[in-house]
Amino acid sequence: MSMKTIYVPKDSASRSVGSDEVATAIRESAEKAGIPVNIVRNGSRGMLWLEPLVEVVTEKGRFGYGPVALEDVDDLVAAGLFEGGDHRLSLGHVDEIPWLAGQTRYTFGLVGAIDPLSAEDYEAHGGLSGLHKAVEMKPEEIVEVIKQSGLRGRGGAGFPTGVKWSTVLETPADDIKYVCANADEGDSGTFVDRMLMEGNPFAVIEGMIIAGIATGATEGLIYVRSEYPDAIATMRTAIEVSYGRGWLGSSVLGTDHKFNLSIRVGAGSYICGEETAMLESLEGHRGIVRSKPPLPAHAGLFGKPTVINNILTLASVPRIIQDGPEIYQSLGVGRSRGTQVFQIGGNVARGGIVELPFGVTLHTLVNEYGGGTRSGLPIRAVQVGGPLGAYLPTTAFDVPLDYESFAEIDAMVGHGGIVVFDESVDMARQARFAMEFCAEESCGKCTPCRVGAVRGVEVINRIIADDQRIANLKLLDELCDLMTSGSLCAMGSLTPMPVRSALTHFEVDFHRSPESGIAGTGEVLSL
């Protein structure tokens, strides 16, 4: 009997709902049945509501089943799992599942499709061709391609990547330049970086090497948050493999290019996702935000010129180099070019990864892809762009998702995370939580953030308690002004965004009688 290839994701989201157990059960079941199987632990396709999603390779392609619970395995095997047999969990051809087929998987194309740690698999699927091309290019040419593509930093700020690279390229260094990948993906509702690192680590590595060649940097560091142990382990192995294959090291692909890469693990601090705090942390210090100037591109890690890019940004690079800038450039709207990898989470029926060109609407993402709330109750709000992003009502569902259009409605695309809330949400408490979160995660350097966030919680508490509500609403408004204009970094200056959007769009929640409030945070736990 020929060897059967089964894909069971090792993505940590899949593992969190039992994929390890499912994989084991399938192996045991196959053994029992005397069927030789090769179980590949792939990344997730991003259809997280279907996890664990088991794929079997058949003559007709990869057939999917999901979500597979441990107790379904015997039944599945009996139904002919290894031959792609029919079952109530059958999803048919995975590539043809509409949820997936409708997407523009530019950056996420290989995630879930390949064995994340198989270099052969990566190369067989076109991986590394960007790097092969890049080693033959002049740094200026690479930078130019990136500029042309319109790629902007996916970490949230949306700064043009090519411009950043050319600054580093033009900054003279006496000895060393760095590429730092920011994998401190702390925003609630975002998990794209994690899925990339777990599902296609070589793309991250390839992107970093290309960034190095483009800017003259020879040392790379990936700063991963400690909450991502699987991503850390996968990246570490992938780096080892890459050294072994001569992709990394003193002679990249046998050329004169040199690039070293290692992993640094965070230690539980949201603010270290802010690029200058990340540099401090990488240097072994308290994760305190630095003032700019100097820009990290001029004086970054250890004072050296440093490229700092988000994981998703870097993972987009290899294909842009491989394809040339035109394809990427042709996607998107306005100044927001290419695709964004949206992450739909929270109270959503079909959560996961949706990669589409900029310009898509929340309606498409939340209602069509997401299928509405998981609870079945009507949607009240979505928060876009992480804990510092705006809470939007469904009336904003037709605004195209791009940097500029969202800025116009006092919101932001951020890192592309979309968190859905149903009508049970109390938006005054969500506003308070924004302040609580800021107080919890503030580095403590600047006054508006350090003291302001704590006062913000107190003021909202008084508003909720109807204690001089009108005066405190005015004070809250002024505090938001102060934090926005006065804070040193985005943490303090963006915390007012969720607060203000809650006030703007859900004002009624701030005017309830105290008794009608829902027992939320604060009462149970004091931070």
């Binding site: 100037p293 403590g444 508006p448 107190e458 102060l482 204009s485």
Partner: protein
């Protein structure tokens, strides 16, 4: 002066030469590129509100009070962290900014105790000032929210307290500890609202804090506050003066209420310290009003009699008559004086003038004899001037720093901070020291090389380094061709290139692996700018002068002289070692290092002083002791120095003192020397003095009186009155006139006056027509002597050898909290850090002897012994033990010997063969060994013994030249430095065919110049 508040421009100056034009609130200004908006505004007279910014520290951008609006820039950037750019148009006051600033202050005050009226900093608080400046009128958040009001106060430091409830978390203290002091003893712990300043441990006293006071100084609130301000109140007036501790010469603001000093605050415009300080200068000034201080003159017939307080007139008359009486009976040369390196130039000048006029001889010497005399000798041989070549600031341009025989973090802390900052900035450090001193490895500083040589082998090490430089082609030929004598260079180069001077050949002598020596030599020789800093570990050896010459050779050979970032720099021990040396304290030299036999020079002084002056050298300090023991020297005036504690071989010193008929001591306290005195003149503390100190960088700093002399007279007045009473009329209306006399008679000082110093702050000599504002860096273009001179530097080991009886080498030094003989620091709370001298001993040596941490041990050398508690540490290498000499009860100098530098008699404190034994516990009661004035037994006279030893040592040093030239060198040296009586003594030994005399000495004696 009323209280001087220094204008803080918020951020430090930019070094750029490029100028940029900006408009601030409608004012056009042109400033250096890189200047912050805040500083540019301050330069226009616009002080943007700020709390975390200060021009002493790097911009931080945390308080967010200093936000401004810039045309074309979105948002409100912080003016402290935003540099100006060409054409920038800035508004510092707009309704929006005012609202933001009030908002920030409102947040601050919502977590700040409202006790301004009872706060120690009331009226001297930046938070208070800023609340006023931004017009804060209400705190709408109330005071019921989360806060830090209940944080406990930390009173553990003796000098300042930490009250965290008042902290605004601006991190200025943390940054000052890092950026200015370089200790990193402070941090912020926690994060967010829980962020708080912390030492990371229990409290300040038990932390890594060295109590420099930088944190207290930069604190904008009462969070870190001097206890003296808490108890006495905010000061009202300022007197700018100079610290009286080490040779760094820090400028301070003495801040007073009435005539009571409240605190000493380092002065930002101080040339040497630029606003920094150490625990001694900043805090340990309380000795000035200590109850032990003697304020009335006293006399007694015999040292066994009790002291009798008398009037100044009686004391001076008694002293003058006794001195004259002695001279009548024992001759003109039977009296002399020792000047103090702790006193002002003006005071020192009057003492040596008194000796040369009223005493009629040249028996004047200074305590520089026992510390830096080889520096004067060695550097003048090479360059023609007896001083360091650079200003401290120059180190900022250095790429490699060779630190040898110095321990700046303890002995010159403010300079150490500067050095550490430069190392953190990228310069490489080479430490040559037998001990693993702090700078070998301390947070954020790691020496590139630690050449852990055996004590006493400095010259061998330098010869090995020079060997590498010469044989590996690392010599700066262009420099030598242009600036140095080619003959002496060639001779020297041939000498060091000899195989016996290679690092390999000398490895067993030096005790350092040859490859380490080679690599350090290459590092020094190949850097763009290499500089040398050294201390008493260089000078206090029997080859001290040779070593200084060897350092000069190395600097010349590698072209490291005559510009910023290079040079050779002695770190002077006491505050005015440089000045007291400059002022003609030496028995062979007038002020300005001019030999007494020089007729032209002598005539200048004879004309000025109206007396015929002696043209023969007088006695050096050790010669005085010998002559006293021999009965030829009977009267001594000791000015502000405690020779009985500080000078080597205490038994010998005390025997000499006990032999005197008259000992006059002028000091603040009854010190060890005063126990042998017949007349005690109470002196003045630096807070009462009016004059100048000269620091290690030749900087002439003003010392201004914060209060009237508590003893009723200035010290120079006392000296003048004594001279006058002896028959030589000496009078000045004020000390300014003394400096004018110095300027009149001494070319290197001809441009100096109180007026100039008051105007420009300080100047570095030479200060004259050619350099009216002084000379920060010397020897630019040419050396003072013309061409640089290379001297051969054969290594002649000290006769002090370890043996079976005394197998260990004792070396001595200082600790941070104490100073010299401790007379000042022992009378302050600095005792909390160190209350006795301890003996550092390596674990192996300790184990062999059954010694544990804290064991009481006896340290014995062939001349004496003392008892100390042991500190077992690997900071000393095996075979070497170390102690300090701060405490008279611990009597470290009981053990040190009579050996001294061949050229200058600087004692060999750094090498004494000793044995250390465990002392049983009941001996603790008699910790101090009995010391009395017993007369040592000498086979011949004490002078004869010394003369033979010194002459033989000279013969050893010059023997490499062969008999003829060697004898000439020995004779020339003796003629120049020895008193006639000593030369006679030597002649007598030669005539008596003393078999202990070296043949070269006998040959020298026949040289005509000797007689």
């Amino acid at each position: 002066m009323t209280l001087l508040k220094e204008h803080d421009l918020g951020t430090s100056a930019s070094n750029s030469d490029v100028m940029v034009n900006v408009e601030i609130d409608g004012i056009d200004i042109s400033v250096a590129a890189g200047t912050s908006v805040m500083r540019a505004a301050a330069m226009c007279g616009i002080d943007v509100p700020k709390l975390c910014a200060t021009d002493r520290l790097n911009a931080f951008g945390s308080c967010r009070l200093c936000l401004v609006e810039i045309q074309g820039v979105t948002g409100t950037p912080a003016s402290c962290t935003t540099p100006v750019t060409e054409g920038m148009r800035i508004s510092t006051q707009t309704p929006r900014l005012e609202k933001l600033r009030r908002g920030v202050m409102e947040l601050y005050i919502s977590d700040h105790p409202l006790d301004c009226l009872t706060c120690a900093a009331n009226g001297d608080c930046e938070l208070q000032d800023m609340a006023g400046a931004v017009g804060l009128r209400e705190v709408r958040y109330g005071y019921q929210g989360d806060n830090h009001f209940d944080q406990p106060i930390d009173e553990s430091n003796p000098y300042f307290r930490f009250e965290p409830s008042k902290c605004i978390v601006c991190s200025r203290c943390v940054r000052a500890c890092e950026e200015i002091q370089g200790t990193f003893a402070l941090t912020i712990t926690g994060r967010g609202f829980a962020s708080k300043v912390s030492t990371g441990g229990k409290n300040f006293f038990d932390s890594e804090c060295v109590s420099c006071g930088a944190c207290v100084q930069v604190c904008p609130t009462a969070t870190l506050e001097e206890k003296s301000v808490v108890s006495l109140g905010v000061p009202q007036r300022t007197v700018i003066t100079t610290c009286a501790y080490c040779g760094v010469g820090c400028s301070f603001k003495a801040e007073l209420r009435g005539d009571e000093v409240v605190r000493m605050v380092p002065y930002k415009d101080g040339g040497a310290n630029e606003g920094h300080s150490c625990v001694k200068g900043r805090f340990a000034w309380g000795y000035a009003t200590h109850k032990d201080r003697v304020l009335n003159p006293m006399i007694r017939e015999a040292i066994t009699d009790p002291w009798r307080e008398v009037s100044w007139d009686e004391a001076i008359a008694y002293a003058a008559n006794s001195l004259k009486e002695i001279q009548k009976r024992h001759g003109i040369a039977s009296i002399g004086a020792i000047t103090s390196s702790r006193c002002t130039d003006e005071e020192v000048f009057t003492v040596q003038k008194m000796v040369r006029t009223a005493f009629g001889n040249n028996n004047t010497d200074t305590c520089a004899r026992v510390c830096h005399s080889p520096t004067g000798y060695g550097l003048s041989q090479a360059f023609g001037t007896s001083a360091g070549t650079q200003d401290f600031r120059s180190i900022d341009q250095a790429d490699v720093i060779l630190l040898i025989g110095a321990n700046p973090t303890d002995a010159h802390p403010v300079f150490a901070s500067r050095l550490k900052r430069r190392i953190r900035g990228g310069a490489k450090l080479i430490v040559a020291d037998p001990r693993r001193i702090e700078l070998v490895r301390t947070p954020h500083v790691t020496a590139a090389h630690h050449l852990q040589l055996r004590p006493g082998t400095n010259v061998a090490l330098m010869n090995a380094i020079a060997h590498v430089v010469v044989t590996e082609g690392l010599v700066d030929e262009a420099f030598i061709k242009e600036r140095c004598e080619s003959d002496s260079f060639t001779t020297w180069a041939q000498f060091v290139a000899r195989p016996e001077n290679s690092p390999e050949a000398l490895a067993s002598t030096i005790g350092v692996p040859p490859e380490e020596v080679r690599s350090a030599a290459r590092l020094y020789a190949t850097a763009p700018n290499s500089t040398i800093y050294y201390g008493l570990g260089v000078t206090e050896h029997s080859q001290g002068s040779t070593m200084v010459m060897a350092l000069a050779n190395l600097a010349m050979a590698t072209g490291n002289l005559g510009r910023e970032g290079v040079g050779i720099n002695p770190l002077r021990g006491q505050n005015n070692v440089q000045g007291s040396s400059d002022m003609g304290s030496f028995p062979h030299e007038f002020p300005g290092y001019r030999h007494v036999s020089d007729n032209t020079v002598r005539s200048i002084f004879e004309k000025e002083w109206g007396r015929v002056l002696d043209s023969e050298p007088g006695l050096r300090i050790p010669n005085m002791f010998d002559a006293a023991i021999d009965g030829h020297f009977k009267g001594l005036f000791v000015h502000g120095e405690d020779i009985a504690q500080s000078d080597p071989n205490t038994k010998h010193v005390k025997a000499a003192l006990a032999s005197l008929e008259l000992l006059i001591v002028q000091d603040l306290f009854i010190n060890e020397t005063a126990k042998f005195a017949h007349v005690f003149f109470p002196g003045t503390s630096f807070l009462e003095k009016d004059g100048t100190f000269i620091n290690a960088e030749r900087r002439i700093n003003r010392v201004r009186p914060a209060m009237r002399p508590r003893n009723g007279k200035h010290e120079w007045q006392i000296v003048c009155e004594l001279a006058t009473a002896m028959g030589y009329t000496m009078h000045y209306d004020n000390s300014s006139q003394i400096l004018d006399e110095i300027a009149r008679t001494t070319p290197t000082f001809s441009g100096v006056s109180f007026d100039l110093l008051d105007k420009v702050g300080s100047v570095q000599w030479p200060c004259n027509e050619k350099a009216p504002l002084g000379t920060p860096v010397m020897h630019i273009g040419t050396f003072v002597r013309g061409k640089g001179h290379f001297s051969e530097t054969p290594f002649v080991p000290t006769p002090e050898r370890t043996n079976r009886r005394f197998p260990l080498i004792l070396t001595t030094g200082r600790v941070l909290s104490q100073y010299n003989v401790g007379a000042q620091t022992r009378r302050t709370e600095n005792l909390r850090w160190r209350k006795e001298d301890v003996l550092d001993i390596h674990p192996f040596d300790a184990e062999e002897r059954g010694i544990f941490e804290g064991s009481l041990v006896t340290v014995a050398s062939r001349v004496g012994e003392t008892n100390l508690h042991a500190h077992v540490t690997d900071h000393v290498p095996q075979g070497v033990v170390y102690t300090t000499f701060h405490f008279p009860g611990d009597a470290a100098n009981m053990v040190t010997t009579e050996f001294s530098d061949w050229a200058t008699n600087c004692p060999e404190y750094k090498v004494t063969a000793v044995e250390v034994t465990l002392r049983n516990a009941d001996a603790k009661i008699t910790k101090q060994p009995a010391i009395n004035g017993e007369i040592a037994v000498h086979e011949n006279s004490a002078t004869a013994e010394s003369v033979v030893r010194m002459a033989n040592q000279l013969a050893d040093v010059f023997s490499y030249l062969g008999e003829k030239e060697g004898a000439l060198k020995v004779a020339t040296h003796i003629r120049k430095f020895w008193s006639p009586a000593m030369r006679d003594e030597l002649q007598q030994r030669v005539v008596a065919k003393d078999s202990s005399l070296a043949p070269l000495v006998v040959a020298a004696a026949s040289e005509s110049i000797l007689v």
